[in-house]
């Protein structure tokens, strides 16, 4: 049961965050952090298909995570769900066309290995 929840979380997080990155890229850089301007950003984002789909995927991931930590410890749940960002880094390269140099790859691999070690 816990691994089924972990797979749901990894898939939903990956889909959610990649869609979020696409949506935010379409929106463009946020410069103005005054409350009025932020309100306009939120209402623009609420109409973005990518952002709506992303929030839906993140909600699935969130409720699956709640279910997981109700049956497993946080120290199991957090590292187990970290698998999503190896998948996300690959998608960032091919789907979002981000340029990932050796430093970023090496750093990502270090971080992933570190997160796995944390579960011991």
């Amino acid at each position: 049961m816990r691994w089924l929840l972990v797979s749901i979380i990894v898939l939903a997080t990956t889909v959610g965050e990649v869609l979020q990155a696409i949506g935010m890229r379409h929106h463009g850089e946020i410069h103005d952090f005054r409350p009025g301007a932020l309100g306009r950003v939120v209402s623009a984002l609420a109409q973005s298909r990518h952002i709506i789909a992303s929030v839906a995927a993140m909600a699935v991931s969130f409720f699956a995570f709640m279910a997981l930590i109700s049956i497993a410890e946080l120290s199991f749940a957090v590292p187990a769900t970290a698998g999503s960002y190896i998948l996300e880094t690959i998608l960032a390269k091919y789907l979002l066309k981000e340029r990932i140099g050796w430093k970023r790859w090496a750093g990502t691999v270090f971080v992933a290995a570190g997160v796995v070690l944390l579960s011991f």
Binding site: M24, R25, I69, I71, L74, A82, R104, A112, V115
Partner: protein
């Protein structure tokens, strides 16, 4: 043109800190609350909604909403492949918080994990936060 890059880095650091702190605190509060709520394995939404009335769960969820919004803001100018590893310093922080405040044992493997994460985050932190063109509404 060092100053726009410097401004971008500063903005990125500030938002990374917000994302990390709200994530660590939000998940800790949520976890604390879920321990008193009990097992939650249901396809019906009612037990989940009931769980939201637990004060720890409610505080956790509020912090995670701030996390979601600041994460979105960060992604409006920074690469996903940058944000992902850099914000995972949160995992190392969770382990350290457990050591300092909850007096949990930190095994050798965990210390090694924390060290690897810090090295990894430092490496990625030295790359440019953005490698793609950002949409610019003025067309400049």
């Amino acid at each position: 043109m060092t100053s726009p890059l410097r401004a971008l880095r500063l903005k990125t650091r500030i938002f990374t800190a917000i994302v990390v702190l709200t994530n660590v605190l939000g998940n800790s509060f949520l976890s604390r609350g879920m321990q008193s709520v009990g097992e939650l394995l249901s396809l019906s939404p009612i037990p989940y909604i009931r769980a939201l009335f637990n004060p720890w769960v409610a505080m956790g969820v509020s912090l995670l909403i701030v996390w979601l919004l600041s994460h979105m803001a960060l992604l409006s100018w920074a690469d996903l492949s940058y944000v992902l590893p850099v914000t995972s310093i949160a995992y190392a922080l969770v382990a350290l918080v457990g050591r300092v405040f909850l007096h949990e044992q930190v095994s050798m493997a965990r210390w090694a994990g924390i060290t690897l994460i810090v090295i990894g985050v430092t490496l990625v932190g030295h790359t440019s936060p953005r490698t793609t063109k950002v949409h610019n509404k003025t067309g400049a």
